[in-house]
Structure formats: structure tokens, C-alpha cells
Symmetry: C2
Subunit: 247 residues, 2 copies
């Protein structure tokens, strides 16, 4: 399977690494528009223009959401163009052969991702192309499932909650630790248990703490403790949300 | 080391399990005020009254915050009374021999906790008693550190953020999944990576997603997607908070 990868951001970097590591995939080129033409240490050409005569099975587009359509317009007609975004509907891609390959994961510099532990949501305008996407997922060891655009945007929202928002709560906790000269590591066993529980129990049955037991005394104490208005808002909104879900 | 455990709630149950499992601790009795007197399968007496003549090294109190002082009053004078709460200041316990044994963990029915992976914050009114608490932590395999009441309440707040609030975000994501007929398991690799990242990188450097890259188009799209006002508030507050921390 011949692939041209487009995009040199965090997802692009991670896709590059996995694509060159599997035998069944031949990575033809890595298109990074903002970079000088060069060769990767593994001998793949980095280019900044699309070759219209190139024959490849998939153009895999890992650029920011608002650049996807612009990039698609640069790609050869009749080629199979596939984006990787959680929030761009397939309808928006005005091509007969368009698809989505949405890895449900967060990609960060400095944290390697094991694709064999990831789910990938697939969508395409025709069923033949869907088979190509299924194969690609299999080649990189990921579990895949068909996911239409409307469900994909819902799943993307859920992903923002469990990753971006959760990570922000960790950041706020980290600030509290720093201010009090306490190492953040003290919280790691608790964070791990939070996740381990959710693998065994439903999140609703896992809920503990002052909000879930309607312990108004501790809640008022904690609100008083918080000096910064950003955290105060977070505390109040999430406490009310837990209490509402308790009912 | 002779211990009387007081409280039959979630923390009490978990403490019971670990206390009977270590050789260096002798659990004299388990006081559960709301239960009939009986014998546990492991042969420990469950009682609902305090024996004033009992000699034990620690009365370990794992009852709800608003019952702690009431329970302390029932305990023999000159005994070492130790509560396990994150938010009750040691000053509030009007005894010469009082202490705190605060395990930084969430305790849930149906999820066993490995005490050897937990940090316990210790505090006591005198240094001799602090040694007893350090020993207890060592006996059950936990890492311990001295934590005064004011830092303890800050750490408790941080624990609420990383556990209770995070778990609520999981609950909201679970509702989205259910509504869209998607298994919550799809999100587990993402949740695990969120935690794995925070062990390697600071939460600030781990942040990804629409809010952190100021992707206002995706943010407005997602706000429109959310039909329930509770989640809309959470989304807006956490998105603003991430953006504020970006600056």
C-alpha cells in the first residue's frame, strides 16, 4: 500500500513513525509545506509540493482542520484523499474518493504512541475505499470501526472531555502542588486509580468525594480555599454537575 | 501494633482489608456504630460501642468528616486518636494525643486498592506519636510524608480536581457515548495516554486540543453540538481556563 503523508505537526510526526515501521506500507513522500525539501534519517523524501503524476493509494492528510480543504484542492483528481480530523464532516470534502481515518488519541511531542492500542474511526464515500482504510488500520496494528461524520464529532467532543479537560484539571492540581511545595507525584497513584476504576466500574458508580456525598461543609471550605477566580469557576461548575448527576 | 478501627464505610472497608493482611498489626476491633455486633470472616469482632478499658496504640477513625469530633469524644482519655480525613484540621481535635493519617487515594466498593502504591500524609500533635504513624504507614507498605493541616487541605483540593472532577468528565463522556451507541471502551486508550503523558511531561506541556490551539471554529462547533446546559457550562469554563493558561 503506497501512501503519501501530508502534514508535519504532532499527528504527522506520529503517523510518519508508524508508517515507516510497518512492512506492508510504502511511504512515498512526506509533504510538509513549511519545510525545505530534505531527506529523513530513514531515507524518506520530505517535499513541500504535490507531484500530480504520483500514483499512491492514499493521501493521508494530517494538517490543521482549517487547512484540510485547501490541501485537498492540491491533490491529483481521482486520488483517494483521507483526512484525520475529528470534526471535519466528510460532506465538506468535495471529492468522490474521500475518506476519514480518525485515530482516537492525543499526540504530543515527547510521548510515543502505540498504535496497536488505539481505535481508529473510519469513513469513506464508497465501500471500496473503506476497505483500503480498514487495511491501513490493520497494517499499523490499530483496531478500526466505521464511524459516520455525525457520530465522529460527538466522539471528538467526548475525547476533548476525557483528554483536554482532564489534562487541564491535572494542570490546576499541579499549580496547587507547586504553590504548596508538594511534588505532583504524590497525586499519581490517585490519578492512576481514577483510570483503573473506570475500566471496571461505570464512571457514575466510581464517583466519590464531597460533591457526590453532598458534603456542603467541605465544599464551602474548599471554595474559600481557592483564591484564583478561574479555578473557583471550575470548582463550582463541576461540583454542581456532579450533584445534578447524583439526583 | 494494636489498632482499633472505627468506621464501616468505603475507607473503613479498605483499611480493614489491609490491616488484617499485615503481620505487624493486630486489629483488636472494628467499631461500626450502625451495625449489629458480629464476627468478620477473618475472626475480627465488629462492635458498635467503644470499650473504655481497651489498650490500643491507635484509634484509627475512618468516619465521615462531620462525625469525627463526636467519635473522638467517645474514645478513652490519653488514647491516640487518629483521623483519616483530608479536610479536618488537627487543631479541631481537642486532644493532646491526636493525629492524622491521610491516604491520598479514592476508595470505592468493588475496586481493591494497593496500599503499597499510595502516599499517606501524616500529622500529629507530638513527635512520639508521629513515629507511631510512620510505623503504621510502613507496616501497610505505604510511602508516608509529614503534611500539616493547611497543606493537607490544599492537597485534598488537588485530589478532588484530579479524581472527582476527572471522573465526572468521564461520566459526561460516557453519556455522550451511550447516546450515540458507541462503547466507552473506545476512549480508554486515550484516557490511559492522558495519564501516561502526565507522568513524563508537565500537564501544561501535555495540553492539546481545540482550546489550547485557540481553534475557535471547532470550539463553536462543539458548543453548538452540546444540547445539555450542564455540559455546556463545563465546556465553556474549561475551554476558557485552558485558553487563559495558554497565555
Amino acid at each position: 500500500m503506497k501512501i503519501t503523508l501530508i502534514g508535519g505537526g504532532k499527528l504527522g510526526e506520529h503517523l510518519y513513525k508508524v508508517l515507516i515501521s510497518v512492512g506492508q506500507v510504502q511511504l512515498l513522500k512526506w509533504v510538509i509545506r513549511s519545510r525545505e525539501e530534505s531527506l529523513t534519517p530513514e531515507g524518506i523524501n520530505i517535499v513541500n509540493k504535490i507531484d500530480q503524476d504520483e500514483k499512491c493509494d492514499i493521501y493521508l492528510i494530517a494538517v490543521s482542520d482549517n487547512s484540510i480543504k485547501e490541501v485537498v484542492q492540491l491533490l491529483p483528481k481521482d486520488s483517494f484523499v483521507v483526512h484525520t480530523s475529528g470534526s471535519i464532516s466528510l460532506k465538506e470534502i468535495k471529492r468522490d474518493r474521500a475518506g476519514v481515518f480518525y485515530p482516537i488519541q492525543t499526540f504530543t511531542k515527547g510521548s510515543d504512541v502505540n498504535f496497536s492500542e488505539i481505535f481508529v474511526g473510519l469513513e469513506s464515500k464508497n465501500s471500496k475505499d473503506l476497505m483500503i482504510l480498514k487495511k491501513l488500520a490493520k497494517h499499523i496494528g490499530s483496531k478500526s470501526f466505521v464511524l459516520n461524520s455525525s457520530k465522529r464529532e460527538q466522539l471528538h467532543l467526548a475525547a476533548v472531555l476525557v483528554n483536554n479537560f482532564t489534562n487541564h484539571l491535572f494542570a490546576e492540581a499541579n499549580l496547587i502542588c507547586k504553590k504548596n511545595n508538594l511534588p505532583f507525584d504524590i497525586l499519581l497513584p490517585l490519578i492512576k486509580e481514577t483510570v483503573q476504576k473506570v475500566e471496571k466500574l461505570s464512571p457514575k458508580n466510581s464517583q466519590t468525594g464531597p460533591a457526590s456525598r453532598n458534603d456542603s461543609e467541605t465544599i464551602s471550605k474548599q471554595i474559600k480555599l481557592i483564591t484564583n477566580s478561574r479555578l473557583k469557576k471550575i470548582y463550582k461548575v463541576l461540583t454542581s454537575a456532579i450533584q445534578e448527576c447524583n439526583d
